[in-house]
């Protein structure tokens, strides 16, 4: 049964959960893997798991936390299974919704690529911190690692990104 068929055959709450959380689940996978078809596959797989485990979901809040955790695990697994390097190309740039004069699309795209090139643990920590806006303690709980390790990953990742940007003449503005 595909994720879509699963959605069709289940209660309206499940549809609501999919609608509410599909951007979160897909974006965790997309920012981590930088491969849209693979990220879509991961997202479908996560919702299929939700459907299979729907009996154990106690509340919408529990569902959100469950989906985030499973999305993180599946994205990491997919990244490990993938033997080749992440396919990072200009063609994978997202479509900005509208022109924002404060937003530099070149810097944004450079940052997304740099994040995708970070080591696995740093990359997921950065995604959870800046995409999901989780506090370091929440990230520590989700990734099952000590708080100090999360802080160290964030610190190192930011230092690395800053250094790369400055080397490219895209430092503080």
């Amino acid at each position: 049964m595909s994720a879509i068929e699963a959605v069709e055959n289940t209660a309206i709450d499940f549809n609501g959960l999919v609608r509410e959380h599909q951007a979160m689940v897909y974006s965790v996978a997309w920012h981590f893997l930088r491969d849209r078809p693979l990220a879509e596959e991961v997202a479908q797989d996560v919702f299929l798991s939700l459907h299979r485990n729907r009996g154990s979901i106690e509340s919408p809040r529990h569902a959100a936390a469950w989906l985030r955790k499973v999305a993180v695990q599946r994205a990491i697994d997919a990244g490990r299974r993938r033997k080749r390097l992440p396919r990072i190309g200009l063609e994978e740039a997202p479509e900005p919704a509208s022109f924002d004069p404060r937003y530099d699309p070149w810097l944004g795209e450079s940052l997304r690529r740099m994040v995708a090139s970070l080591p696995e643990a740093q990359r997921m920590t950065v995604i959870l911190r800046y995409q999901e806006e989780l506090e370091p303690a929440e990230i520590a709980g989700l990734l099952e690692m000590p708080l100090a390790t999360v802080k160290s990953h964030l610190h190192r990742a930011l230092a690395l990104l800053r250094e790369k940007l400055e080397r490219r003449g895209m430092g503080e503005r």
Binding site: E40, G108, R112, E172
Partner: protein, 92 residues
Amino acid sequence: MDGPDKMDWLEEELKRALAREMPPRDFAAPRRRPAWRAWAAAAAALVVVSAGAGAGYRQYEGREARRDLKLALDIAAAKTSRIQNQLREFSK
């Protein structure tokens, strides 16, 4: 990270760059179809998939090209805006 609440320019840029995106396909989009029609559709899809593969790939390429163009235009617009601001500063 200078503190628990204070975010510097890089962290703000990361928040913007890593904003959530909708998947290309809405997983919750309703597709009402009886089971027997699903089998029929699968059989029909099998027949047309080889013929349609080429066209599908061309469509995919078209979407990717549009995405490239959109990003190029956004970058050009941002650069033009920055140059205009600099010119305005010079002419003051």
